[in-house]
Symmetry: D3
Subunit: 193 residues, 6 copies
């Protein structure tokens, strides 16, 4: 089988893009060695692209009580619940790299209960999945459960907001059939030389 295209929608060439978007894409290419398809495919809509990555950066790059690996674990666990191939594969690579655990992403994507993580991290992912799947039922008891694991209320906002942002992201990726770059599948699985 030939590989499917990276989006159902037209993918702009770099030289067609507004300068700020082109700069962002060149920056990520410089850093990662390739351009993740989420940048190319969402660039079809420049205003949405800008808002998407501003939101992403506000949640994923900020300081706070959650480690980078924990944030990416939230992404992978909720993307698993939403059956989003792009996000599982791309953010799975980030889980492996940040946590320096080559097996962790697959574990979290399938069943966080069986992952090599702490009970506190399991409580974090249980809450994230409730936000992803049944947010109307969230109540005080859910907040108490996280506080008992020493999560602050600001941490809880972070957990919930990441789950909420990837509820959007997973649906966009499924809508346009966003294809993960081949490179992601192997990243973090083998030691860098």
């Amino acid at each position: 089988m030939a590989a499917s295209p990276i989006s159902r929608y037209p993918v702009p060439r770099l030289d067609e893009l507004p300068a700020d978007i082109r700069a962002r894409i060149l920056e990520v290419q410089e850093k990662a060695g390739f351009v993740p398809n989420v940048f190319l495919t969402l660039a079809h809509r420049p205003d949405e692209f800008r808002a998407f990555f501003a939101y992403h950066d506000a949640l994923m790059l900020k300081e706070g009580g959650l480690t980078k690996a924990e944030r990416e674990m939230i992404v992978v666990a909720t993307s698993g619940a939403n059956d989003c191939l792009y996000c599982i594969v791309a953010h799975g690579a980030l889980v492996r790299i940040y946590a320096k655990q080559p097996l962790l992403a697959d574990q979290v994507a399938v069943n966080y209960r069986k992952a090599d993580i702490t009970p506190r991290q399991k409580a974090m992912l249980a809450f994230a999945l409730k936000v992803a799947q049944n947010s109307a039922a969230i109540d005080d008891a859910d907040f108490e459960a996280l506080r008992s694991h020493a999560f602050s209320d600001e941490d809880i906002w972070d957990i919930g907001a990441i789950a909420a942002f990837f509820a959007l992201s997973n649906r966009m990726a499924n809508l346009i059939s966003m294809r993960p770059n081949d490179e992601f599948y192997l990243l973090g699985r083998v030691p860098r030389k």
Copy 2:
């Protein structure tokens, strides 16, 4: 019963806020006559506030094949599926106002099949609900169904992206227990004098 607070989280005072956010809030107050709670409650996180409303505006204020009333109908139908009180009540008011149909928002929030809308609009909402509830199963047949109702592929992106953005919005509102302003409940139900 006393009314519940408008958020589980602290709500900043206007004079504490960054100037751009304060300006946006004053502008909406000027226009609507009150400040919708989504502005006050999300202002707790200024960077996320900015990204949220940039995304919102990119989808809801742009030109395109969908009318303003249709965009708000997508919001209300998917927020109904997610049991999000804030979005049903606040965007229900917008449906009534834009469509000039005082019954339409309640119809769409409960069951779009019974709403006083066209078959084309029913197809639009069926697709939006699939994005909201089962986006992994979207396939070519769903695109074909919308094209047969003369939706362009750019319209389909709009429909799906609005459903995806409110997947985020509904989860944030449920996370923080965002309370709709009392004013929204009645807006558009009675003729303006």
Copy 3:
């Protein structure tokens, strides 16, 4: 869009109806100022009409431990779970009127956890929803939970029986596409003059 008819089935004229049914309809018209469509549409089957309203009256008009507003809240919450437009709109009006809370019906229809009601009323609605959605799993622990909120066993029968009766009512309304009268949407939202 033209408004849809009030039923998929023929709606009898008043002068075609048996005397007892006509009398009941005239009585409700006298009291409410209009004839709710449930009376006109179910009159297509006189024997079922009589049994339906006898059952309704036995549950909704009797004395007992639940207030009228609480009974109607059970109707609205379970009709919300069953996506029944007629019952949400018509009984939502009754919730607003009996409780003298113009926002309450919309809150309860979408998510009782966020409604301006007491913890005891939330326990009542949680039980009603379990009867509506998963009655086979009701067990002693559910009865104990309600007793701990000072509901008697007769109150529990009332809660469960109202949920059960509107399981029927919601399905009939969905079967025949019963349309709510326009009047209901606004009732109880604005102070009576």
Copy 4:
């Protein structure tokens, strides 16, 4: 294990009951040789008892396009979906007796697709189950499907109304833990002598 009681609620003695209810019970005892527990347990609430059986009789004893066996098949199939022991066992006996097919009730309670019935009867039960489980999604296509099997619109009302009435009945039986009489389990399984 001792057998459980026939209801969570007090069961009135015959001599405590209003005359009309006592007469109805004696009549059914005369005919069936025993008193089905639904009569004894619901007699705890005389007004609800009267409405319940008036409704039941209006649907199950009337003339119409459905045979008695078909009506009872609708009861058994939908009670199977609702996991209602009383109704499966009691109305299963009636299916066996009316259809003169000793295997039919168990087949229909578990999976109508595998039952020894006609394609027309399978279409009838598919519709009844949609009324029982997802009535909000009923639309014109469902009516067309039944009409193509030569069901009239009045037949369709009968099918839907029986499914709706037993939505109530199943929930009441589950609420009060109504126990089927031992006699029902064997009725219609062996030839009467």
Copy 5:
């Protein structure tokens, strides 16, 4: 209606079968007085037949902490959840015979909470149903719950493994439309003479 065939697939004649399979079938016929259709229909694939019954015997005929009636109750409860007519009817007969309770199989197939069994047996069936329906969520708390009812860890393996084996068996029976022998429906319902 003519009865449906016992399988969608060809059913081998006894004289076509390998000797070991023929011997097994003759042995069960000798013992039961008829050949259960599971033997005839699965014999279409001799190697799978041998593995299937080896697995069955390893779980159902072994010594251990569960009685024969309890093992068959697990089969019936999980087959009820999977809507498998063959297994409910055939193993329901075994429940009745081993437990010497003619009503028990129907109770367990529909709703174990209402069955005439001990609290320990209800805990056993709750666990079996979790293995059948949501095995990924099994965690230490489920094991603790069973240990508190004096189930050993080997008993828990037995409960889970029987539920797992009939997850296979139910799916095979549904795949090939395996028809229960008429004889099973009545077995154990009336005293043997």
Copy 6:
């Protein structure tokens, strides 16, 4: 975090095992270079071990219309639906190796609709998932759909039987918390030297 053990249950030492089981394990070790944990963990119950692998071999090693890669794709897709970490990881390795497509296993585990496979293979996996998730609803139309893709009825048995066998296997792995060997995660992702 320390890695979790490979089973909730005791894992026998090789020298404690019956000779036939030890031989099988040594054979697989010879071939694969390590012993997959399914062999060590299920050896806790020798009779069940023998039946399990006899069944496995009858389905997975036989000749027939499905390629080895296709059989393993069925395993991975249905194990994805059942959230079974062991089977996704271990059989994912086999999908990569047999299909010589390093990305295929992750695609199929998450969403076969997005995998780089043929329409015929997508029809095969849709059927396998129906057997895994809703086998009671399988009917003639499902068989017709596969026949239209040139699957024989024997192929259909193979597809369904593999889905059924891994319904068992997934539940056993989840029951005992079977841990995938670390080796599997990387197998087939990089070219063998």
